[in-house]
Amino acid sequence: MTRSITISNPTSWRIDAWRLFWICGISLLLSACRTPLQRSQHQLIPGPAADQQAAVQARISDQDRAPAVVSIQSDPLPEAATVTRTEGQVPVRQAVYQQPPAVRSSTLPPIHQTGRIPYPDAWPTNRPPSGWPADEYLLQGGDREQHVNVGRDWSVDNLDSEDAVVHYHTLEGELVIQPTNRIPIYAPRFGSVRRMDGMIQLKAQEKLAGYDRPTGLIQSDRTTGTHDLLQQEQLQHNLVARSTTTFREQTQSLGLNNRHGALEDSGRAKLSEGVGRDAWVEALNSEKPRLGASIDRPQTGLIKQQPQLTQDRITPAQKAASRGPGSLETYQLRDGKSLLEITKSSTTGAVQPGDTITFTIRFKNVGTLAVGNVTIVDHLTSRLEYVEQSQQSSMASDFFAITSSQEGSTILRWEINEPLEVGEGGEVTFECLVR
């Protein structure tokens, strides 16, 4: 019995080779897309900082959108013609969460909004690869994580730390919850974790480091002889050279010379005033800011001449200005609606532990109808301690300060007594000690 051997077609073998090549390439590409999980192997406390930072950035990107049109659901109740504070009798409806208005000035720390170069002048100012470090800032205001909800008994649920909201009733009997803007405050605080080792552990650590492993006395004993003396002379010659030490000294002195030289050096500058405007003159560096100020004058005048945007049926315009750049928010309203504007600000954007910071919450009825039962709730973060008797309100209100035993934070609550008429507003201020 004979077995026939079939020789495959060389053309088909070449096609199979191409298939093999493409399969290998695609599989390599797919395998390369597998990124290892970046987590600590010894996770003791749930919720790593990286995840929270990513969550903060995700919320910031959400708030960075263009200002959205705020609309209030209209479902009138005939029996709710007037709004008065009568607890338990006011027709309370299910809370309608309003999206927070986009406030660009508060979504990013000041370091990325200004074009200035931080300390020192010539050092790199690159942003960290994973966005701005949220762990160096205290965020105040807004509504993070779960949305705040107000029950029929005026209880506030899902009020996380850092949250600051206002809730009020419209003439239609609708309960509206509106968060404030979010302000970052640079206030890093440090701690430490310490381990103490005895002498036994210290010796073990040095052995593991293996610094002195190449140096062995046994090796020297083996080569003890006439040639050993020549070897020692060569080592003494190396001691005299000290080439590495000399190189380090030159490197350091270069950097210091450059730093001092820039302060006293002079350069060529072009005059912008006077007769010889097109002439280059030799001027000291200390005179350059004065020359530069005269050059900048026309540019400043152009900025002032920028027209303000106006548009029909867009009222009102609010400009939130504090230390950082402000933002212009526009709300497009239908006729006969209620809307409250609330803004939170602080006296400073960078504090040290032990400093006192003053917060101001401003509110104003920017709608076309009166609102009532205006209540401001601010949940301070655990790093802020409310200073007793420091709150002030421009309107008659009832104030409550409750310390949360679970998180060690304080919840502040203002209940404005009278309804807010159209265009009416006020502010509450309070001081906090930075822990």
Binding site: A32, R189, S192, R383
Partner: protein
Amino acid sequence: MHSPPQLSRQTIFPAALAILVLATFSVPLVAQLPSPSRAPRGNTWLPPGEIGQRQLMRSPTLPAYFQPVEFQLPDSVRIAPAMDGRFLAPQAGPVKAGLLIGSVYRFRVTGIPNHIGEEVYPSVELLDRLYPPPGRATDFPIPITLSVSELEKALAGRFITRVIYLEDPRKAFPAAQHPTRQLTYDVPSHTDPLDFAQQLGRPVAILRLGSRMPGRDRVSGRFLFATPPWQPLSSNNEAPADAVQRQPAIPRIRIARPAGPPFR
């Protein structure tokens, strides 16, 4: 009629084997890419500088940045930084300096209460930097606090490894801190403080404090870690402070001349 080519068993088997081999080796290659996470890798049992050097390779903003550091000392304690292979004049706290990330700096601490003439030589290794508002970097340095109790324990032969971390504000301890003290957690000897500090925040520095005395390493510079460059800082971001001298202060004995002839 030309029929499409069919894959034979002799072709499928090498292809599957090649796919398996490539998929096996490609995952370790990807794992060696720089990680976007900023948590330091390693442990405190590694030699000084090892973790900092790994950090430098992972972030483009860390090299060549002098991170301000402030040493907070007890009243009588003095600290002396090293430059050009020798220690400078001792200074009273608080002392500010800009240190490079990834480098290890050796300091000499003297004036320990009830231990006249005794010295300890702590080392500081920076792992990460801060990103303060423009122009406020020197106002927010990394505080490194040395207490008398720690210095005494180091003199008694204990080796202290302290990891300073930036506290996560949402995991912060809800209590005020003393201005000159630092909230410190003690962990047992078999626990890595770097690992524990990562759970509480972002590790930024490692302080190693022991009773090791300097050896004769003028050539290798091993004890001083080759004296990496640092930037002296004053309290208000001005020129280098006058207190930092390039030459150590050498005490000299002055012999007063007698007012008159000693003998008449």
